[in-house]
Symmetry: C2
Subunit: 343 residues, 2 copies
């Protein structure tokens, strides 16, 4: 592929990303200074189509990039778009605003990303159960119930209402908390060793109280895991993309966005790869083979924390999405550090 072909390909991709209309040779000749006539560009485009970088909807009516064309563009031709100062300050301001709970951070990260890219944003939060137990405390609620507050090293703070077995006093529960705190100190939540349970068992003599303790632990673990770990934003923004002009298409993608499990799988597949772009047919899941995903993983002290992603039509501003994700990444790692993850 000689240099002129590359420049033509670049021109086609850029114009198509901008206009969402198939691009013709004449348009390129006009808008890009390639120094050759439309006819020559036509020849080049025909070659590029042969090579699989461009596609024809039908003969006549301009070219659009194929997945392979986007891939070549992303890998070699594209220059990363700088975020505008305005965008940066908007983001900076939010992150600096003040100490927040970690859930807010993820939710707002998704919002910011979708706002800037006008596409759907996904944020896969670090799993609470993958972080280390810090402490469990009880607070009295009434004579039947108390509130269990679980904190982990990642800065997760969860509260649950738990019923106290009749006969158990709040002091019993506080004693229970001390035992649990001793036994689970430093354990990763989803890998609590059997030995820890045995130790709890041996230190809590009362059978009913032990059952309650197990209940508290399992309650504390299970819920977040399934429901709130994936944060999603921008289904509204998405509608401004011409690809979603007809409602059927929108319904389709909304349906897919409801399948949280599926989304998690897709994101998890990219875990650990740094900044990565998956384009159109490169996606394993059929339903989004006309979409692209840009993912980035955020780390702290070398430890993998989670993934953030932009999901949109293949005709996406890859450069912008990538630099944005990079930027958010830093913020996110930084915030998570400030909120207390200790790695």
């Amino acid at each position: 592929m000689d240099e002129r072909k590359q420049r033509v390909l670049q021109a086609v991709v850029q114009d198509y990303i901008e206009s969402a209309e198939p691009v013709g040779s004449r348009t390129i000749a006009r808008r890009h200074d390639l120094g050759v006539s439309p006819a020559t560009i036509r020849n080049e485009m025909a070659d590029l189509e042969m090579l699989g970088y461009l596609e024809h909807i039908h003969t006549s009516s301009g070219r659009i990039p194929s997945s392979k064309g986007y891939r070549f563009y992303v890998d070699g031709l594209m220059q990363p778009t700088q975020l505008s100062d305005e965008e940066k300050t908007q983001i900076d301001r939010w992150y600096r605003a003040r100490v927040k709970r970690i859930e807010e951070v993820f939710q707002e990260t998704a919002r910011l990303i979708s706002h800037v890219t006008k596409n759907v944003a996904l944020v896969l939060a670090p799993q609470m159960t993958k972080s280390a137990f810090r402490c469990l405390q009880f607070l009295p609620l009434d004579d039947r119930r108390s509130v269990a507050v679980l904190m982990t090293d990642a800065g997760f703070i969860e509260n649950r209402i738990v019923a106290m077995p009749s006969g158990a006093s709040f002091e019993d529960f506080q004693r229970m908390a001390r035992v649990i705190n001793d036994c689970l100190a430093g354990c990763t939540l989803d890998a609590i060793p059997k030995a820890a349970y045995r130790k709890i068992r041996s230190e809590i003599s009362d059978e009913e109280l032990y059952e309650a303790a197990l209940d508290v632990i399992s309650r504390a673990l299970d819920d977040r895991e399934g429901r709130d770990r994936l944060y999603l934003g921008g289904t509204r923004e998405m509608l401004s993309q011409p690809e979603f002009r007809d409602v059927e298409r929108v319904k389709e993608i909304l349906l897919m966005l409801e399948e949280e499990q599926l989304l998690k799988e897709i994101l998890s597949a990219h875990l650990g790869d740094g900044l990565r772009v998956t384009i159109g047919q490169e996606n394993d899941y059929k339903g989004i083979q006309d979409c692209s995903i840009v993912t980035a993983t955020y780390h702290l002290d070398g430890e993998l924390l989670g993934t953030i992603a932009v999901l949109g039509p293949t005709r996406m501003e890859y450069g912008k999405a990538m630099s944005l994700l990079g930027y958010m990444n830093e913020h996110l790692s930084d915030v998570v550090r400030r909120l207390g993850w200790q790695g």
Copy 2:
């Protein structure tokens, strides 16, 4: 308005709600056993149009109900639709599942409502700041920060990370908590009397600590209030309504659904009215004058807790929406009672 006119009006409204297509005299004659010919029905429809109950898109092409027509239907002609057993068990099962945090309850209520009605559901939760202070506790996080857990009589449990002023120890914070607990006991959060602040002031001698206490209190109050009090569900379901076949309309309403403040105002306007239907042009806000809202308020021991609502096109299954809201109401009041509201 004689009885036959009423039956014709009823037929038009029912058919239109079902089919979303303007209804003609012939269709009514076929599908409803009125015992008269299409011509007669035509005459009645012409009268109904004169009276303002029906509208013509243009001459020819059937009638659709006007706001006034829907109003008459809702007030007099409609029979409330029973929920199907399946729907009831689905709802019952979820509510029975187990003790939950109150936020989940509201979110899922919105989801259930939108699922059953295929329309947007709104749940205005009881304001945390309208409920009474129960207690504030601190849990140690690290040497710079601690976690404030605020509980109210309504069952709200909120946690916030707060920075401790340098020099302050965790014991200082616990002492602060005792003071605050003493002084604010029983106060409604959004109406903390000046005297309470004075009392805190006098009991906390350290200036910096007092500032920190004020910060904690204001932090605990402000956030929820603004952000999470309104739960929204069913923007996806909404798309299945033929009224939203074109994306522009969808964008319009999504934009409006983002204006949380506006939605709260609309719902608040209905506060205290029990089950209430606002149809089309009866809405004050221009943007939804082609929509209807069904609202219901839920109470406990005579005290008003909040509002739940269905928002959809005027062509809405009013009967179903109303009986559903009634049903959810009971559940909601019940759950809130179980979760600890003490009125």
